[in-house]
């Protein structure tokens, strides 16, 4: 049950296998608002956590096709509608000559879709987060692996959650305060 002052629990693990096992246990215990943190993507972690597939490809497809269509549309409109000029005897809508730019615009759209989709779906940038209050968490980007369970999860309980994490082999468990509060 949600706790007034605590944002959640953070557990530190020494290696990826331990993190995987712990993630499995946490998911089996019925938690939903939890996350894992690692310096690199751990193979099999999304399965252990039960994460759904990412929607980034859809962003890429839509923006990519849109970019390509936009590129062709721009060229057609400029060359055949707005200011038609006869250049080296070619027709106004000289589509073979328009393919390169159409392709490039498509790739640009797709690339923006990939990065944009990633940022949007991850809700980044987010420069402030309760996790950064933990000194141990600095090693997240170095060589340690973490599991965090948020207090807003129904099953959260200061004691049993911490016990579950310790029992899963955490080297270190701590409770993190909500911003502006003491744990």
């Amino acid at each position: 049950m949600p706790d007034g002052t605590v944002w959640g629990a953070l557990a530190e693990f020494r290696n990826p296998a331990a993190l995987l096992e712990a993630a499995r246990r946490v998911r089996e215990a019925g938690y939903r608002h939890f996350d894992a943190h690692s310096p690199f993507p751990v193979h099999g972690l999304e399965r252990a956590m039960g994460l759904k597939r990412s929607w980034v490809p859809l962003f890429v497809l839509v923006l990519g096709l849109g970019g390509a269509a936009g590129g062709m549309l721009l060229q057609w409109w400029v060359s055949a509608v707005e200011y038609p000029l006869v250049v080296s005897g070619k027709p106004f809508f000289s589509w073979p000559a328009f393919v390169p730019i159409m392709f490039e615009c498509g790739v640009l759209g797709g690339a923006l879709g990939a990065l944009g989709g990633f940022l949007a779906l991850s809700r980044l940038p987010r420069h402030h987060h309760p996790l950064f209050a933990s000194a141990a968490f600095e090693r997240m980007s170095d060589d340690r692996f973490f599991l965090s369970i948020e207090a807003r999860d129904e099953r959260f309980d200061r004691r049993s959650t911490v016990e579950l994490l310790s029992g899963a082999g955490a080297a270190h468990v701590e409770l993190l305060p909500l911003p502006g509060k003491e744990a």
Partner: protein, 414 residues
């Protein structure tokens, strides 16, 4: 059980018997039937086809289709070895058998080469197409040191012998490893695949010039060899997917060839479909843009005399449709879906060769399909399937002693 290594299991211990076809297996029977049908079709074509230019045009197109697929198999094997690939070990033996059919193709080429005068206008005499005898054509006179029957036969023999030898040696060495389990053989295969690729590159480029480009001897395009290579690679990837599925579902490769392999082959198939389109478009756009008559005449021909719809069908069928279809990850992993794409692409490859050859050799260059087109295609495809069956009837369908087999069996795609 604690994992012995990290993913790469040593000593998988598959026996040859587990992954080879027992005598009388339905798949082998299917190959014999296909072979028989092929021979029947071949006999019918020769008997009833009239042996005129139209017959040889059909025969040559069908033969080129078979040759480009088989030489694609050779390329796949060479590339696999030179890149030290692990994932493709599970399908490499199938490619080796495909490449092993090259000697059969060499034999099938003989009648066409003997009747080359019916196909190639520069071999004076029958004057196929509108060019007439070489003697009155200054361009053909200029090319005579290269485009003469004797040198042409020599070169053609060289390409076919080189490919057959390469295909034979790489298959035989791989089979030997099944028996001896010697990892040193892998090292030999790897070392020799690099010069093998050099030979492949040169011979395929010049074979493309000799066998297809010189059908229109006034025309030339430096990218032509690459174009044929692109189509050949698309075809072999499609064929390997089909063979993999067939031998997995109805043969002994269940659990060995998996959707992971179809996914990887499918990704490569997608990539090479795009590569083919890139090469085809480059050739077209540059010639269109430069607008030089001696070059544009080739494309102009393929946009007239009824060929325009075929050109559009080729662009649509060889690129646009497969591009969008193969984008999806799921399509590449589901057998019926990826098998459909493979069959489609193999057929479209025939259309590609038809589009390359026919406008140059058919009388007055008009688009006019003929029953011989179908019969010769059945003949070549059937005979090749029969040859494949004969090659595949005893050995293991997977290189059981390849040191990279464990990786091939256990890798996963994202």
């Amino acid at each position: 059980m604690v994992a012995a290594g990290h993913g790469a299991r040593e000593g998988v211990g598959i026996t040859v018997r587990e992954v080879s076809l027992p005598a009388g297996h339905p798949l082998l029977k299917a190959c014999w039937i296909a072979g028989g049908l092929g021979v029947l079709a071949l006999v019918a074509a020769f008997a009833l086809g009239g042996l005129g230019p139209r017959f040889w045009a059909s025969y040559w197109t069908a033969w080129l289709w078979g040759a480009t697929v088989a030489v694609g198999g050779l390329f796949f094997v060479l590339l696999h070895h030179v890149t030290r690939a692990g994932w493709s070990v599970a399908v490499r033996r199938l490619a080796e058998h495909v490449a092993g059919t090259l000697p059969v193709l060499a034999v099938l080429a003989v009648p066409a080469l003997l009747a080359a005068g019916e196909l190639f206008p520069w071999i004076g005499g029958h004057g196929a197409g509108e060019l007439g005898a070489a003697a009155h054509d200054p361009l053909l006179e200029h090319k005579e040191p290269f485009l003469n029957a004797g040198f042409f036969y020599l070169r053609s023999a060289f390409y076919l012998v080189a490919w057959s030898l390469l295909g034979w040696w790489f298959r035989r060495t791989s089979l030997r490893q099944d028996a001896t389990g010697d990892p040193g053989l892998t090292r030999r295969l790897q070392t020799l695949s690099a010069p093998g690729l050099v030979v492949f590159g040169l011979t395929l480029s010049f074979a493309a010039f000799d066998w297809v480009m010189s059908l229109d001897p006034h025309w030339y395009s430096t990218i032509f060899g690459v174009y044929l290579f692109a189509g050949s690679t698309v075809s072999i990837l499609a064929l390997l997917i089909l063979l993999g599925i067939v031998f997995e579902r109805r043969g002994p490769l269940a659990g060995v060839v998996t959707p992971e392999h179809y996914h990887d082959l499918g990704k490569l198939l997608f990539g090479f479909v795009v590569f083919w389109a890139y090469i085809a478009f480059s050739q077209f756009m540059l010639i269109w843009y430069g607008n030089i008559p001696e070059e544009t005449v080739w494309y102009a021909h393929r946009l007239e005399h009824g060929w325009k719809p075929v050109t559009l069908a080729l662009a649509l069928g060889h690129f646009v449709l497969p591009f969008f279809y193969l984008l999806s990850r799921d399509v590449k992993r589901r057998r019926p879906l990826i098998a459909g794409a493979s069959v489609w692409l193999l057929l479209v490859h025939y259309l590609d060769l038809y589009w390359l050859v026919m406008p140059a050799v058919a009388a007055d260059g008009a688009f006019a399909p003929h029953w011989l087109d179908l019969v010769t295609l059945v003949a070549v495809a059937g005979i090749l399937l029969g040859a494949f069956g004969w090659l595949a009837r005893r050995p293991a369908l997977v290189p059981v002693a390849d040191p990279r087999l464990p990786e091939s069996l256990s890798f996963e795609n994202m």
